[in-house]
Amino acid sequence: MFHKDRFVILGLCFLLAFTVRLLSIVRYESVIHEFDPFFAYRSVLYLMERGLTQFLEWFDNRSWYPLGRIIGATCFPGLMLTAGALHKVLDIAGLPFRVRSVCVFVAPVFSGVTSLCAYGLGSELGTQASGVMAAVLVAVVPGYIQRSVAGSFDNEAVAITALLAVLLAVVKAVKGGSLLLTSVAACLYFYMASSWGAYVFIINLVPLFALTAMLAQGRLRQSLFRFYTLFYPMGIFLSMQIRFIGTQPVRTAEHMAAAGVFVLMLGVEAYTWLRRHLSAERVRYLAARVLLFAVGAAVCGLVGLMLCGAISPWTGRFKTFLDPTYAKKHIPIIASISEHQPSTWASFFLDTHLLALVLPAALYVLFTTKASYAATMLALYCMCAVYFSGVMIRMVLILAPAACLLGGLLLARLLDRSALLLSLSLSKAEETKKDKKDKRDKKEKEGDKPASRPHLFLGSLVLVGFCAFILFAFQKHALWASNIYSSPSVVQIAPMPDGGRMVLDDYREAFAWLEYNTSPNAKVLSWWDYGYQLEQMANRTVIVDNNTWNTTMLGRVGAMFASDEETAWRLANEYDVDYVLVMFGGVIGQHDDISKFLWIIRVAEEEHFPDIPEIREGDFYNAKGDYRVDSAGSERFRESLMYKLSFHEFNDLPTGHVKGYDRTRNQMVTDPVTLTRFEPVYTSTHWLCRLYRVKRPENM
């Protein structure tokens, strides 16, 4: 059924997806959010300045100070290249936007494209109606808004579009058996591999889908075979063009499932083909020979490769998906990131609202309609996404589009039913004598009153009203969620009791101070969270940043913050540190470095440095086992550099009626803090950022 109205609806979906993400710009100004987007923004600036070749070979000597970082080989360039290309195209078209504006708006534009891809997938799944419903849901679902709001210039902004596009291309290619669509799918997979680390999800989902299709149908169909034997080599080859991925597709365990399914498919196809041409006896004889070779070669080869270390096992980040307790026991850096925590029941409701409530019902609809490739793909995608989002809160982002597609299918089905019911109740058909006789017979047998037309009408109204109600509730929730997710954490806006608002722009204030008042080659030390922002906004060299690739340096920086002043000063001079930045939220009551301090200690504790006095987490709790910042806190804690830098001159600060009241921990700091080796140079307006200079030995 071809409806022209769908173009209007899809255009409106695009517009909706675009505008619902603009709240942060409307509220304050167009600014890049959070932490990681600042790295991407800085990379785009570098790309526009120096060109593509220089960008892909970029060695950055302004981060990880003594070592530097090979950014060209350790980043996913897709996002930066997309933004750069967009900027170039707009420039040529006569619309010279600033690079920052292009970066800020990339996410809303791509989310509009995502809802169009969702329409495509939804209409493969059911009718065009379910496609349209899916498009509307994807445009506003909070789980997706959270990572693609205007200003959130992060990998996921373009990667989710690529994800849905790859799945759409795969489903269409397998259905039709067309090689052109398969190559399109492989190219889209290349785009996804270039933008986000979760391309591993696709390269495991597609083989799983192929395997399930094979098992469900009992044999290997030609279209599936043609699809997979082109998709796998082409996709792998293309993804290896990205330096960060390199030879991982043939080395690591994460890609071995795809390789295994490839080999299996070739084997099955060869066997089937042979059976058609030879008799059963001869085939068995041939198969026995091949088996001898294959098993022998496989065993020797695998053992040899593993002994040489050529095939590496699952890396830490992905091992968390297989064994969720792994990160907590072995890798505190990964375990400390708040996005990597396992999710609670509330995260599902917040991020997908009614879709989480109807997901099993949507699966019921899926299982009761005729099986198709799209249905299998979506069921697998959904169940994998549910599992992964249970392991990490951040992965609810992957669940959101799957839930929307299934929810769209269900809502389309419900509305379909209610429309049928309504038309039945309003139909002018006369009841024939035969119907009346049937009804009387049935009544005698079952004792159930047949439903009359007013009843049917009421029933259909109830159903339509119900659908309208849940859609309204979803829309309201989505707008509310878009409001709370639109906060650029760089600038904080708090509502005042008199209705006005207070803007906390401390971070940018401190970074601007650094940029204008320090030498261009100054080295700044802070905990790794603030590295990317320091590099981009303050334009200074940093010691550790958000990439967290070198755990030894992170451990040393952690040890610096956890040790007493003399040791910390010695370590700081080792790294040529000029300034130290500390975040302190005690004046306004915010989560700050002291709240994170236990994780810093754990990271430092993992590395045992022989030249630093030992750091034990237990020393930082007082005798009763509490973590306190006032005079009841442990001695070791109050001697540490982090405490001293945070609370320097804080006991004299009037906060309300008293002095030195820490609003974050609700404790009062009374003892003065003395610093001998560090000199305070700047504290921002609300004491959020505190900067200290490291005194050189000559000045002592």
Binding site: T325, E446, G459
Partner: protein, 164 residues
């Protein structure tokens, strides 16, 4: 080892794939559906969170007069839960879906169509009894969903007071 011995291996593989084929025919969609619903229930209950962080089943503080535990939900924090709180909320999710499934099944009956193959209704009702009973089932399904939705919203507001 002579080649003839390995033919036994190949025959064995063929026989095993024959069994596999029979098992494949025995697995019905409703089994897979039950597996999916069970795993959905476990994940949304926060089983993984419980396994990693070992939260207690409910709060420690007890009411002074009655001795009953005061808190069963971790207040004001979205990223933490007690174990029992997770199980109860997952039950509400499943209840809501069950309501929708009931509504859909009932709508097939009302319209006089055969319910689809994976129906959970009795065989005698399959052929479509256009009766008031089906209408009531439909309404019950809607009410089940709405009640679960209201309960979830209430519990959610405990965790996030700024919810509208």
């Amino acid at each position: 080892m002579p080649i003839t011995h390995l033919i036994v291996v190949v025959e064995f593989i063929e026989e095993v794939s024959g069994w596999g084929d029979r098992i494949r025919k025995k697995i019905k969609p409703v089994h897979i559906f039950a597996l999916c619903v069970l795993s959905y229930f476990l994940i949304t209950a926060g089983v993984i969170y419980n396994a990693i962080n070992h939260p207690p089943p409910r709060g420690f503080m007890r009411d002074e007069v009655t001795g009953q535990p005061k808190v069963i939900t971790v207040m004001n924090r979205l990223t933490a839960q007690y174990a029992a709180e997770g199980w109860v909320s997952a039950f509400y999710y499943i209840l809501a879906s069950a309501g929708i499934i009931l509504t859909l099944s009932a709508s097939y009956s009302i319209l006089g169509e055969a319910t689809p193959m994976m129906s959970l209704k009795a065989k005698r009702d399959r052929k479509g009894v256009r009766g008031v009973r089906s209408l009531i089932s439909m309404a019950m399904g809607v009410i089940m969903f709405l009640c679960s939705y209201a309960m979830i919203r209430g519990r959610f507001r405990e965790k996030m007071p700024s919810y509208y």
